[in-house]
Amino acid sequence: MNLLNAVVQGILLGGLYALVAAGLSLIFGVMRLVNIAHGDLIVLAGYVALVAVWATGLHPLLTLIVVVPIMAVLGYALQRGVLNRTLGADILPPLLVTFGLSVIIQNGLLQTFTADSQKLQAGAIETVSLALPGGLAVGVLPLAMFVVAVLIIAGLQLVFYRTELGRAFRATSDDPSTARLMGIDNAHMFALAMALALAVCAVAGVFLAIRSIFDPAIGPARLLFAFEAVIIGGLGSLWGTLAGGIILGVAQGIGAEINPGWQLLMGHLVFLAVLVLRPQGLFPKGSLA
């Protein structure tokens, strides 16, 4: 009974992990960039929402109207101004630069907001829940967030496989120099990919900031979950990433059910098991349409 509940909670939380992971895997897929600052950018989105709430008194969910565009513009500028210069045959420079970015964001947040934990308060809706058969209760807010996460991932899938922009992303990822011969400006394409990834991250960041407390140093933990979800699901497939996020969430939920200290441990164990038994991930590129 409690286990079933843990599984349901795990699925809902896993949807958010998947959303975070989708941004990470989108960037890696398009430009082979591993963004170490990804988790910190998500935390940054949470703080941007916090400031928006303080400044305007808006409901945290409504702040998405400003947080999403802000993060998208930031992503575009960051890619064009900094990260594009690090891309090349060597994968080390982008790793080092995004690591540096991660340190800068963490320290910037620490200076501005102190090390205190914060949380976005969503008000009464946080406690509303649906009673399911079998005595299960599911929070309406977590359920809605899960649905939105799945819809966003489906939307990304649509953009990638059904639109001209997605075609250009895939062509650039396959062969940047031939893509230029098609009239595709790679620098612009990479910047658009980062903008899209950070727009998705902004949603994940605000949702996570409503669901749990956050502080300036929590970014690397968020990055780790995203990384694990991507690896579990298999690189290069968004539905795989969704599955990876859910599996990670469920593993953590079950771990916590067995022993509160085992929540993260259980997630890491599943991740390691996949790495050992099926290093290409459960649903690698091409296995899902």
Partner: protein, 230 residues
């Protein structure tokens, strides 16, 4: 319509082209022949902007374009069928064709017209581009370049790795394309093929033009000497 004057190109410190002068008129089909490593692909890469050159070394339709970014040059009307086809593996045949039109130039070429020219591609439209035979991949690469509605089409070794019968088929469709007034520059190692389609031919050797003329006016000996040196 295209003119290069003293075109030079470098890979780092290595100089691959030493002052190439080429002139092309609207509607002409030019062939550039030369042995392995002569600099033929380098010449095309310099024109398309994949390799940096000086601005005034390449003029296209009266406008200096040397060293402009490749994505800008294709929008001005120069499209290339690259050496080795270079189809995008994660795109289907049809997507490979559609991406050719990314620059949104208008003109006679559309998906329907490409499928008329190469009916087999329509049957395979949903296959991954790289799942096709070499000849079919070459058709996709040609179609993809035509989708850009270029006024100048550059073809790098269309015959590479293809059976003679397939090569003839590919060159037949090229003849159809030039018949509609397209200006074409073909780069070939296959001298006979090149001489058959071209109204003028340039021979390249170690980054220099060693011979230029009409195929009908050149002798085998002249070509042999220009091609192999000696």
């Amino acid at each position: 319509m295209l003119e290069t004057t003293g075109l030079t190109a470098f890979y780092g410190d290595f100089q691959a082209l030493f002052g190439i002068d080429v002139r092309m008129q609207q509607g002409e089909t030019i062939a550039m022949i030369g042995a392995n490593g002569a600099g033929k692909s380098t010449f095309l890469r310099a024109i398309t902007g994949l390799l940096p050159t000086r601005r005034e070394q390449v003029t296209f339709e009266g406008r200096p374009i040397g060293g402009l970014p490749a994505d800008v040059i294709v929008k001005l009307g120069i499209a290339m069928v690259p050496e080795g086809r270079r189809l995008f593996p994660s795109l289907t045949v049809e997507e490979n064709l559609l991406i050719g039109a990314y620059g949104r130039r208008t003109g006679p070429w559309s998906l329907d017209r490409i499928y008329q020219l190469f009916p087999v591609l329509e049957e395979r439209r949903s296959s991954p581009g790289t799942a096709l035979s070499g000849g079919q991949q070459q058709m996709v690469a040609i179609g993809r370049a035509l989708m850009a509605n270029p006024s100048l089409l550059l073809c790098d070794e269309l015959s590479l790795g293809l059976a003679p019968i397939v090569i003839r088929e590919i060159y037949r469709s090229l003849a159809q394309i030039t018949a509609e007034g397209m200006t074409v520059l073909v780069v070939e190692q296959d001298i006979n093929q090149a001489l058959a389609v071209a109204s003028r031919v340039y021979c390249l050797q170690e980054g220099r033009v060693t011979l230029e003329g009409r195929p009908t006016e050149l002798t085998r000996e002249q070509i042999g000497r220009a091609y192999f040196g000696a």
